[in-house]
Symmetry: C3
Subunit: 206 residues, 3 copies
């Protein structure tokens, strides 16, 4: 493994943790929660997907609990959201890109992890998607809200599935690091465009 | 193990996956979800109980992720429900029997799996019941609905517990395959009769 | 390990299971559930936190499933709550102390278990807190209610975090048993006082 590329992916992965920790904190603010609520929603948003993936894989304690940086980054992000309201124009302009980058990276990393343990492509696709959207799903469930991906609002989960599909197609053709970067490079703009244009899947709720 | 009987149980198990995948898709239709919603509810309904059981057992990645057929059958069933509305008289006449067959089989298979790992009869009863009704429970939670078995509507969970009890009583007396078939043969008609007659447990909500 | 102290902790741990099983049953009564509902809420309240901790740790089947006493005590407590309504003055006077004792013990036991598997202090703090408040959280989620610790009502989760912090500070300085007893001795009165005085964390919902 190229140490440089591996480092890049680790950094992008933690950027995703930070962005989703901020998002969890933002939602805690909207729900008028106390600091404990900020911490809980930050952790669930930032680490819930990876923890659900690792718990289902059952190949050891989730990386979110064994790597000391994940919890620290998630909690610091929630703390930042507690202190600074992120609602301005700059944040709204930057957020979708960071969110898309996190979604693409997480989808690809989750897919590869499942494939590396010998799972088939369909379970790998499922676990990659869970990595990418599972944290938000768990956060919504804890808030007793119906998860956003059931509302038919955007192609969010579909972008994750596409990024996972790219990671599966590239598996074995290129190194794992390149596959992650390509998946993220495809998934991130999809999220931004889907959000900007309000894309929906065909369905009765569309 | 008799290969023939083992094959029968595997087929019945997958029939249960298909029936519950259809049911999940039906609920997605009623909730007016998009295709992603159909897939999510199909997977949760069809595989959620077994995945919860295997995650709690912690003896390896859930069979729903390692056996390639489970996810395929669940997704195909959800796809069928997306294309064809199952609401006619024939479906309403057949559904309870298939549902009962799945419940009885899943309860017995889950109970036996727990016993085979050395758990006591009470945890085995719990895990068998989780196998049978856990998927529907998780689906209802994701939909931000109170699970049906908390509503006091039918003896659904009770039928699962009875089927688990039969599997525990038969454990060691007959082969695992026969025990599953007997449990399913007792559990299935109970579900059908409880549904037809609107049986309830005694309680204030009755 | 001193057998006597270990026995004391085991007894306090099971007292916590009994108290929370009763509490789950009490909530089942308020929600007018049937006996299945009593059993489900009793099990979730009494054993959910430890099962979530052990499932995340992934070091074997949860102790709530391998130790025969846990399920029995939880179910007997739920049965008692089904038969006897606990709403009188005596119960209201005793309940906070027992609840605090359970919270402090569970927080310390969960923290120590995580540390003993080599996790860092921050993940150990998280898993200790999950042990103490996770069961109530899961119970509320199953009831499609927002968990109490997101409501900003009391310092309940904060008391658990403090008890976990004490367990971490004492780790290695004293025996595990003494650390648990000290943590519980600090956490229990905090719960009682926070409940009596209606303490809240600073925040917009305060």
């Amino acid at each position: 493994m190229s140490a440089d590329l591996g480092d890049i992916i680790r950094v992008v992965d933690l950027v995703g943790v930070a962005v989703n920790g901020l998002l969890g904190g933002e939602i805690a603010r909207r729900e008028r929660l106390d600091p404990i609520g900020f911490a809980v929603l930050g952790i669930l948003s930032a680490l819930g997907g990876g923890m659900l993936r690792d718990t289902l894989l059952q190949r050891g304690t989730p990386v979110a609990l064994t790597d000391p940086w994940y919890l620290v980054v998630a909690l610091v992000a929630a703390l930042v959201a507690f202190v600074v309201p992120f609602e301005g124009r700059t944040w709204n302009a930057i957020y979708p890109s960071l969110d898309g980058l996190a979604l693409g990276t997480w989808a690809a990393v989750g897919t590869q992890k499942a494939l590396s343990f010998g799972l088939g492509w369909l379970p790998a696709l499922l676990l990659g998607t869970i990595t990418a959207v599972g944290g938000g799903m768990i956060r919504d469930i804890v808030l007793a809200r119906r998860p956003a991906f059931l509302g038919g609002n955007t192609l969010y989960a579909t972008c994750a599935i596409i990024a996972c599909g790219v990671a599966i197609l590239l598996n074995g053709l290129v190194t794992a690091e390149v596959a992650v970067l390509v998946s993220a490079a495809i998934g991130a703009p999809l999220v931004v465009i889907a959000k900007a244009r309000g894309w929906k899947l065909p369905g009765e709720s569309a």
